[in-house]
């Protein structure tokens, strides 16, 4: 199966519920569609699928469970959500919520996703560090986490990044026939004096130069893109730059600070009035921020510390 040329898959997930993942997925989707891109959104928040609400449309009849259980082609599950160029595939997989989806099934799902005829495919993954979430995350071209400037959300994000990278290490070392090295190291962490991911990585890298090479490569390729949502003052903007620094200094992980979004009461009122935010308030600060961070994601650019361009000076 060939990946549809030029199609990019972005997965939005991580951290806590309620940070704004679904709002942001719907908004980036609307923005890209308005720029003439063909976009498909997939609501893969197995537990709390609600992406359709951000378009003011009713819960659709068909969902991803038809793909998994009845082998309905993905393409026929795409529904119209009132914006030209933008399609939506509904999640809602109660029967799959409890257990792991088999890895082979996830790969198959992903191969079908890649064949969808679109420029961008955005997958809303929901909160938590379930294996289904992390594996889908790792298969995407861009991994995006949404956080808010609140200690619980930030803590959650560190946790999530560590879990995703741990998962990735397992999968990669597994594929090199080193299946048990990660598990063993972790299981016997008391003996090896391993308390943190950083120490685990150092321990594994010390086993052999071969493993060190693999890990070095994975670490330098591993990139999460961070979106800081619901900021209430321009001072909050620096939370993103600070997180970037902490990820590097404490976890050894590079991250991209893709952008920030202001808190706006109209977001909630739009949902309640069944209005699409980006169509209703296209000239708002939030809409402009969505546009800017979408460009940053496309071109892999980021917010830099306190540059003029990014200081809103309006909060």
């Amino acid at each position: 199966m060939e990946k549809n040329k030029g199609c990019e898959i972005w997965a939005i997930g991580g951290g806590k519920g309620g940070t704004g993942k679904s709002f942001i997925t719907s908004s980036i989707g609307a923005h890209l569609a308005a720029k003439g891109k063909r976009v498909v959104l997939i609501d893969a928040d197995w537990g709390g699928a609600n992406l359709h609400s951000f378009f003011g449309v009713n819960r659709p009849q068909n969902s991803l469970s038809d793909f998994f259980e009845k082998k309905v082609p993905l393409k026929s599950l795409i529904m119209n959500c009132g914006i030209s160029g933008l399609g939506l595939i509904m999640g809602n997989l109660p029967s799959l919520d409890s257990g792991d989806i088999k890895y082979a099934q996830k790969i198959k799902f992903f191969n079908h996703v890649k064949m969808l005829d679109a420029d961008y495919i955005l997958i809303d993954l929901g909160a938590g560090s379930h294996n289904n979430t992390m594996d889908t995350f790792l298969l995407a071209d861009k991994m995006i986490v949404v956080i808010i400037p609140e200690i619980t959300s930030i803590e959650n994000m560190y946790h999530f990044i560590k879990n995703v990278f741990f998962r990735k290490l397992k999968v990669v070392l597994n594929s090199h026939g080193l299946k048990d090295s990660v598990n063993d190291a972790w299981k016997n962490r008391g003996i090896h004096g391993i308390k943190t991911l950083k120490e685990l990585i150092a321990y594994l890298a010390g086993i052999s130069p071969h493993i060190k090479d693999i890990i070095d490569k994975e670490m330098s390729d591993f990139r999460m893109h961070i979106i800081l949502n619901q900021i209430r003052s321009s001072r909050d903007i620096t939370v993103g730059t600070s997180i970037k620094s902490v990820c590097l200094k404490f976890l050894g992980m590079h991250t991209q600070y893709a952008g920030y979004i202001e808190y706006d009461n109209c977001v909630t009122s739009c949902i309640n009035k069944k209005q699409q935010y980006m169509l209703t308030y296209p000239f708002s600060h939030v809409a402009k921020s969505i546009g800017r961070l979408s460009d940053n994601l496309i071109y892999v650019k980021e917010v830099t510390a306190a540059t003029d361009e990014y200081s809103p000076g309006r909060l």
Partner: protein, 188 residues
């Protein structure tokens, strides 16, 4: 010193900069990181519990070392090329100067800022507070400045930007302001 420039790359990395970053960026990155790891921000406290108590201090030491080394690097570059990115200040030892500051007066703040090669417009851009206020603060043109609550806020922002202890700076500065206010009150 004849260390080839490649050896400085790790110091640029510690300050989270590209290898071609100019001195002005080295400085602002240093100040930003210093402020981050010497305070209790939500960003660090969300992870610090996993790490030993002295891990923030270790990071601060690294940052300080990198900054000191890079100042040398830029000083050498100036000497080699007879060129200066900014006037005169690259090598001056700010810590030593700070140790000798008894009170943060306007002129003392100005001196510190200039030694750090920070321009008023940098602070103004970052804080969104008018540049004029900062100039008046440094020149202690108290009559031109807004009322006490606002002024205190501006002084705190100024101190934060320079990674100075905001409480101490504002304490010193506002004491001077109040002295001026009472003498003025007595006169009129």
């Amino acid at each position: 010193m004849n260390i080839p420039p490649e050896d400085y790359n790790k110091y640029f990395e510690i300050l989270e900069l590209g290898y071609n970053a100019p001195l002005s960026e080295v400085r602002s990155s240093y100040l930003r990181l210093r402020a981050l790891y010497s305070s209790d921000s939500i960003v660090t406290s969300a992870i610090i519990y996993e790490f030993p108590d002295d891990s923030k201090q270790a990071i601060l030491d690294q940052i300080d070392e990198a900054y000191a080394k890079l100042r040398e690097f830029f000083k050498d570059k100036e000497a080699d090329h007879g060129y200066k990115e900014r006037p005169s200040v690259a090598g001056s030892d700010i810590e030593e100067y700070l140790a000798n500051v008894t009170a943060f007066s306007g002129p003392a703040l100005k001196m510190i800022r200039e030694r750090l090669v920070v321009e008023l417009k940098d602070i103004a851009n970052f804080t969104k507070i008018r540049r004029q206020y900062f100039e008046d603060i440094e020149l202690e043109r108290f009559e031109a400045l807004p009322t006490e609550v606002y002024l205190r806020g501006y002084v705190v922002e100024y101190a934060r930007y320079l990674s100075l202890d905001p409480a101490r700076v504002a304490g010193d500065y506002m004491a001077r302001y109040r002295t001026w206010k009472t003498t003025r009150g007595n006169r009129s």
